[in-house]
Amino acid sequence: MEIVLIGLNHHTASVELRERVAFTPDQAREAAGQLRLRGILEETLVLSTCNRSELYGVPREDASDGAGTVELFLASFHQLSPNELNGSLYRHRDSHAVRHLFRVAAGLDSMLLGEAEILGQVRDAYQIALDRGETGPVLNRMFQAALEVGKRVRSETELGTRPVSVAFAGVKLAERIFGKLKEHRALIVGAGDTSEQVVRHLCDRGIKNLRVLNRTADHAVDLAARFGGEVVPWENLTAALDWPDLIVTSVSSSEPILTRAILERAMAARANRALLLIDLGVPRNIQPSVADIYNIYLYNIDDLTEIVEQNKKARVAEIPRAEGIIDEQVQKFLHWQAGVAARVVLEDLRGKLTAEREAFLQERLAAMSHLSEQDREQFAAMLQEFLDRVVLSPAERMRGIPELRRKLQNFEALRDLFRLDREKS
């Protein structure tokens, strides 16, 4: 029950090569189908994202060098020569393949450490393969465990909680002040790419009340339309300040557009309700002395960048705990895998012994015509009991005791010892 993994990612391959080896959903289905049709893999799953393309599989029992064949298939499928891929591929088997998948699901192998998107991508890839019947007991168990690992790492460590982008840091700060953002209001001043990132994160975090201003009305209309907000004319900027709880500015202006005087009047008009100002403009859009006004929290891009750097370090510090969870789950998976392998071998052993017993009895009892039918049955039963006691029970014990299995090194040795036919299992 070997597991193989062949793949490449942003650590090992350039973006150009990754583009050539990426799988579209149709290609993933085709590749999985071909791998099974050609008898290379019994179970297969393709995981393809912008940063990685990986083939997970369980080779057939009688396949020699399943991993090597998968590698050749990968090259030929994408019309590449093996040499082109050679330096960029990683090849893992068994526990290493399992550990790799768990690290991927946990976000430890991502370009942005701890990012959450990969877990959803792993889930989607697994669900598609499961629906198509491309996976089997091994990959099912492995990917279910991977999803569990991803969930545990994100809930039991802080690997994915602290924001590591400026836009997300601003949104998380808003949550530190206001709590859940659903009932709160955001005013976006400037409709460029930076503002869009902030708006995207705000919407992801549940904000429902959004207004957008921009000097160029069309851009404001476009941004508001895409995210369900309202447009406020640029000239109404000052009047609009008493409405939001959060203001994000990102405009090109040599002078601040929000001065202390403007904001003092605004705070009076809004009865001093707390206001978070996120100034992403360079030069700054908000006069720095505004920070002294009561109940105003002002952050500029440098402040957010510093938070992001601190958070990146904090994420790195969480790696050992995440690896601890992964170690635990890898052991659990391997324990399960060994148990399944043992059960299969034991079933084959039982079958083999039963067949041998039948052949033995037929041979030996043929010359004992003086025995009655009842005697023959008793003799057969005694022989079976003997086999159970001497061979099968000890073998069953081994299935339940990992320490014994470790001593045996490889349960599969029983197969060779008793010359068990693989095809029958």
Binding site: S155, E156, K172, R176, I177, G179, A268, N272, Y294, Q310
Partner: protein
């Protein structure tokens, strides 16, 4: 402090505090759950400690200052636990538990002695005392929440949120929790005070015999009602309201200590 329940309670409170602190510094599901479980255990054991104290002094546990302190610690811990269950946040635990622990220790350092036959008995009296102590617990919670608010506010304004700062409840949430605690405190205090006045009338034929405790209690009620009204106004909402809440709690401490010890003739436990 020879009562085994007291010792066991102390152990569980200390364990709970240690786990809350650990969970705040290095969030861990096991530490968080462990902290809550230890706190629940401490509350159960504390209840039995109060019961044992009652039996020893042949009176309700709050018949003396130390008993009432113990009940205060119990109600404070129980109120916090409800808050934690409601908001699913453990970050406030490391700030509440030390108060519980200190008050509990103070309460049980003094040996429980049977008190002189007090007139203080009956369900109305029990109602009066329990509600008043509940009020003080609620005010204590609001005091802790206000301190956390001020710390967080300072960190946020100073751009120094730090590692732990990300784990506290949001400022808005802290403010709402504080106002809720104060409301509970005011309601309990008002009803508890009325119960006390009615009980005093039944006992002595007059509602008030000039005991300064009543005046101070009314003052406390007024200043917390004042807080409730001011906390939503433009001039006071935010850090100023929190500072006011902290200031108000000094009156609670004054009432519980100086007034009970030196000024009140009926609420004096010595």
């Amino acid at each position: 402090m020879t009562n085994p329940y007291v010792v066991a309670t102390l152990v569980f409170y200390v364990a709970s505090l240690a786990l809350y602190i650990w969970n705040l510094r290095e969030p861990s599901r096991a530490a968080g759950i462990g902290a809550t479980v230890c706190l629940v255990g401490a509350l159960i054991l504390h209840y039995f400690a109060l019961l044992a104290r009652s039996r020893m002094i042949h009176a309700v546990p709050y018949d003396d200052l130390f008993g009432s302190l113990s009940l205060f610690a119990w109600l404070l811990a129980a109120t916090y636990l409800c808050l934690e269950a409601m908001h699913r946040r453990r970050a406030v635990g490391p700030f509440v538990l030390p108060i519980v622990l200190v008050v509990f220790l103070l309460a049980h350092l003094a040996e429980a002695r049977p008190v002189k036959a007090p007139p203080a008995q009956g369900p109305l009296f029990a109602f009066h005392v329990t509600l008043n102590i509940l009020a003080y617990s609620a005010f204590a919670i609001s005091f802790v929440l206000s301190i956390i608010f001020l710390i967080q506010n300072r960190r946020l304004r100073g751009h120094k949120l730090g590692v732990v700062g990300w784990r506290f409840p949001a400022l808005d949430v802290l403010e709402r929790m504080t106002r809720s605690s104060v409301l509970i405190g005011c309601a309990s205090l008002a009803v508890g005070m009325v119960a006390g006045l009615i009980w005093a009338h039944r006992l002595e034929g007059q509602y008030w015999d000039g005991d300064p405790k009543v005046i101070v209690t009314v003052l406390i009620l007024l200043i917390y009602i004042g807080y409730t009204l001011l906390a939503r106004t433009a001039a006071w909402r935010g850090a100023r309201a929190s500072a006011l809440c902290i200031f108000n709690f000094m009156f609670v401490i004054f009432s519980y200590s100086i007034v009970n010890r030196y000024l009140s003739h009926f609420h004096r436990y010595f």
